[in-house]
Point group: C2
Chain length 234, copies 2
């Protein structure tokens, strides 16, 4: 594998940099508890997130027009509410839950790892969250990006190749000078097809303490245990 | 004038946050000197910048398609080279000069002022520079933005109203919760027409030590002597 010489590092966010499951389960427990509800809140968080890939895939396949992730999150939440009998949640609570995706806790290594990487690289998210969501999330979590790029700017979602093409286009660099970092093999495989270099950072706890990480995808350029280890490799 | 309650502060960059004239004159002197040329380099910088508004206005009026500011800067530079007899500059030097707009020195108050403002607001540039240019400029200058918005995202240039509309659209806030900060009255007047709040920060030295600032535009919400004074007002 050739040495990686990246000017720009693009990061997946949900799962790769932030622990959405703990944060969303806590938001559900807080909002649900105020509404007098009891539930297995981590399981509700998992049910919500499980609807994510199928909903976005319909946009990528052209079966529905692009709408922001906030709109899709709100739609998915309605289904989860029906399935888990959470109808006692009012509209204000539902809006608050959709907005809780704008405030997610980073994995412990994310801020120190990105801080180290930022000394010699331009850092950007490249996420399916919108510009507003990602900016608020990065500010709350303290993630030190240099700019904020989102699938929203391509009017589609990952793994559509147009999303990955945003980074070399905006920075006027060859795709091979962009490194995509993610914990999800499909994201990295799509980045590879778009000509980007790739780094796999497994997050075995993304779906909770009983979870496991998938194996590194074939052809990945780098594998690192966390973001500080990635910074040490680059 | 009603109190300004802005969640997001959008900044003009060239002139408002950075001293393009000193930086471009220094770049010209360095590149030109290596090519054996002598010239009044600040005057050459002024000649280059003077072509800026007319070139961008043709795009805003629809007389030519949108192209990045780097492309327009390169075109303007060719005219300046002919006018000032700088044909000894080679293609490599010309490209280096266009790229010098990605590395401009901030005014002394810009970094401390933005650092103070960032504690309670989301900060973004809203400039005619592209995403790549602005990201590299902010990183080099140490300007602590939370994201990077550019006229490039609207496919036009300020003062086209579609540029100002980017900020409330991406952040899903009313336009009145966005504060536009600039040293150029026309920029602020266009922001007002788009419903944004406005702050005028005069930069009398933008065009050199003999310059003077225009008076504040009518209806501006705030006037501050520099960015630290603006932070104290908000």
């Amino acid at each position: 594998m050739a040495a990686v010489d990246a000017e720009i590092i693009a990061f997946d966010v949900f799962g790769t940099l932030v622990d959405w499951r703990s944060s969303i389960a806590a938001a559900l427990a807080g909002v649900g508890g105020r509404a007098g509800l009891e539930a297995d809140w981590p399981a509700v968080a998992d049910a919500w997130r499980s609807r994510y890939q199928p909903a976005l895939a319909r946009v990528v396949r052209g079966e529905r027009p692009f709408q922001s992730l906030d709109v899709l999150h709100a739609e998915m939440l309605e289904e989860v509410i029906a399935e888990h009998r959470l109808q006692a949640l009012g509209n204000t609570e539902r809006r608050e839950l959709v907005r809780s995706w704008h405030r997610l806790a980073p994995w412990p290594d994310a801020v120190p790892g990105l801080t180290a990487l930022r000394a010699r690289h331009i850092l950007t998210p490249l996420s399916n969250g919108g510009i507003g969501l990602l900016t608020r999330l990065a500010k709350t979590a303290g993630l030190p990006f240099d700019c904020v790029l989102s699938a929203e700017l391509a009017g589609t979602y990952k793994p559509d190749p147009r999303v990955y093409a945003l980074v070399p286009a905006y920075f006027e660099v060859p795709a091979g000078r962009v490194l995509m970092v993610a914990c999800h093999p499909a994201d990295l495989q799509a980045a590879q097809r778009a000509g980007l270099r790739t780094a796999f950072v497994p997050r075995p706890r993304e779906w909770g303490p009983a979870g496991a990480a998938p194996p590194p995808p074939a052809g990945v350029d780098l594998v690192a245990g966390d973001m500080t280890a990635l910074a040490a490799q680059l």
